[in-house]
Symmetry: C2
Subunit: 184 residues, 2 copies
């Protein structure tokens, strides 16, 4: 039962607990217990709990975009690709253990750590750029210009994610998708 290495097991366990319970309520004790490793092993691989959090964010960032790109790869047509952004979110939100956006949750809990905030901003910034690229390729009724449409999609997705986590449904994301469809 010790297939994975110690460092991976620490990060896997910490990631799960940070996401499901929150960062501050998750103690080092719970992490070492559930990862089944010694206390000093954790501090050998990560110099502090904060460093573990940063590792979690970095890894989530990469996994998130890898998943998005895998989802988008087979989707053809500029219009369909824009709408697929919503389908991607609905797919994520359909998972039984979905609890909201990893980054928004950590950002809401963060009290002043600039390194943490930096990671969150980088993640959201990159996604916003991604949306802009898709929108620039898609034809649409010119009620809004390209930049406005991209901003609108970004804000609708953020709003639907927050509301979805609160009301435990992906209904908001479906509504957001229908709204955007009226513009394409």
């Amino acid at each position: 039962m010790k297939e994975t290495g110690v460092k991976d097991r620490i990060l896997d366990t910490a990631s799960r607990l940070f996401y499901e319970q929150g960062y501050h309520v998750t103690g080092i004790n719970q992490i070492i217990e559930e990862a089944d490793i010694a206390r000093a092993s954790l501090y050998h691989h990560f110099i502090s709990k904060t460093e573990l959090l940063l590792a979690y964010l970095d890894r989530s960032h990469e996994a998130w975009f890898r998943e998005l790109e895998d989802f988008m790869r087979p989707v053809e047509g500029a219009r369909e690709r824009v709408l697929a952004l919503f389908d991607h979110r609905i797919m994520r939100q359909s998972r039984p253990n979905w609890k909201g956006c990893n980054f928004n949750k950590i950002a809401a809990e963060n009290s002043g750590d600039e390194q943490v905030l930096e990671r969150v901003k980088r993640h959201k910034g990159r996604f916003r750029t991604y949306i802009r690229t898709l929108v620039s390729e898609a034809p649409h009724k010119r009620v809004l210009d390209d930049e406005q449409l991209a901003d609108m999609i970004f804000l609708l997705l953020e709003g639907a994610t927050v509301a979805g986590a609160m009301f435990r449904s992906y209904e908001e994301t479906e509504k957001a998708k229908k709204i955007v469809e009226s513009f394409l």
Copy 2:
């Protein structure tokens, strides 16, 4: 220097710290120290830290809608009233110590407490109803129906609030306002 009562001072201090720092990082010790009251006085007025959190949420809920209604009272014209929703947010976000939505922050930090989640849902639900009422009175280009327009405004405001807290600006809310203006 003891103008206000003990109970008020506890709630004032706890509210400020919960909002500025977060709920879980704020300890009982810090609250009693900054409120300048005895430890047992806190537990006389509030049976637990959770109860103090619920009192904070209830009071924020009422203060929030009181402020909104004060802001909206002088605004005339159905179209202007819809747009004033954005001005209200921009006004709030312009405050130097604005750190995001009280309720979203607590919701993101909350791990399973149903009483807490209930308060957040009630707050957001009531605001959504408020938007629907305004939209139903406002004429608009019928690109979207009334309900869709109200949903869109709600989601844009939620998204702009989350993004605004992250990027420390009200730029997102101004963009959201311009987008909605295209429909009125």
